[in-house]
């Protein structure tokens, strides 16, 4: 049986923050909370991308419980690369 709540560590631009989230919550809410906890308010939400430890981009519309995170997993929330070259 899947747990109802999960503990996650989200590394926001290099700064780790921990949070507990219901399995029914969307990843979008995880991002919102992680940004708030690390006081990252200066960038539009769309400028951020969430990836798992293997570098796979995560769909923020999915629920936490839909992805097989183990409790205590680490996710990486980073700024998208700007236009370069």
């Amino acid at each position: 049986m899947k747990p109802e709540k999960l503990e996650l560590t989200v590394v926001v631009n290099g700064t780790p923050t921990q949070l507990e989230t219901p399995a029914q919550a969307e990843l979008r809410s995880v991002v919102t909370r992680a940004l708030a906890q690390t006081k990252n308010s200066g960038q539009p939400f769309e400028n951020w991308e969430l990836r798992d430890v293997n570098g796979q981009a995560l769909d923020l519309g999915k629920k936490v419980g839909q992805i097989n995170f183990a409790s205590g997993s680490t996710l990486f929330l980073s700024l998208r690369a700007g236009v370069g070259g």
């Binding site: 631009n13 290099g14 430890v53 700024l79 370069g84 070259g85």
Partner: protein
Amino acid sequence: MTAPGGELLADPAVSRAKFAREIADFRTVESEYRRRGILLLGAEFPTVSLAFAAAQIAPSPMVFGADLDFTNYDLLPPAVTLVNPFTREPYRARELPTDLPRLARVNGKPVRREEVDKLLAKHRGNIPKHLGMLRQRLLVWHDPDQVPFLCLPGVRAYHEHPEHSGDSWLLHRTSGAGRLATIIEHLYRFGVLTVRGYAFDVNIQIGPGPTKQPQAQAQVHLRGLQIVPGGE
């Protein structure tokens, strides 16, 4: 390394404190970075030395090293140089193991990495040219003997380049664009996640053998890494 003109522009004590914060944050999750193939080889102000391995394939190759220079940080953004991970010598353009490719557009629209994966699966590893894929390299050079520079906002060379004089670092300074973790993520995403495997050259010759029966000989040479741009 010093600022343009050789000057120290920021109080070294401030830059040193901010450098220490960047390193402390890295150390907090260092084991997670290591799992992804990102190794901290040294951190002595003003330089951070990193190595990037492609942990997603086996055996895992060491792809490149990177030195970040935090002199005058964060009045100026860090300078980033791709280096040989063993000798720490900067790569010249002709020696680069990867040019940090970015797949900017397919069919005229920005694409995400997962869409690229679907296209690759659909077209058996080769996205047809008619789809209009635009491959952009994030490492820029003008001569093959030149040391390339990473051309992204948040990196010193980008903001010092005359073509980007309208995009000042001060517009990005508080965004996190020049933070160690952000630059690491860009290098990882475009330099490591784009490594999909090894590329081989196979040469097969068919001819009469010693008994005059047809005989096939095959020679296989490792050419390098198979690198596929990863999308937006």
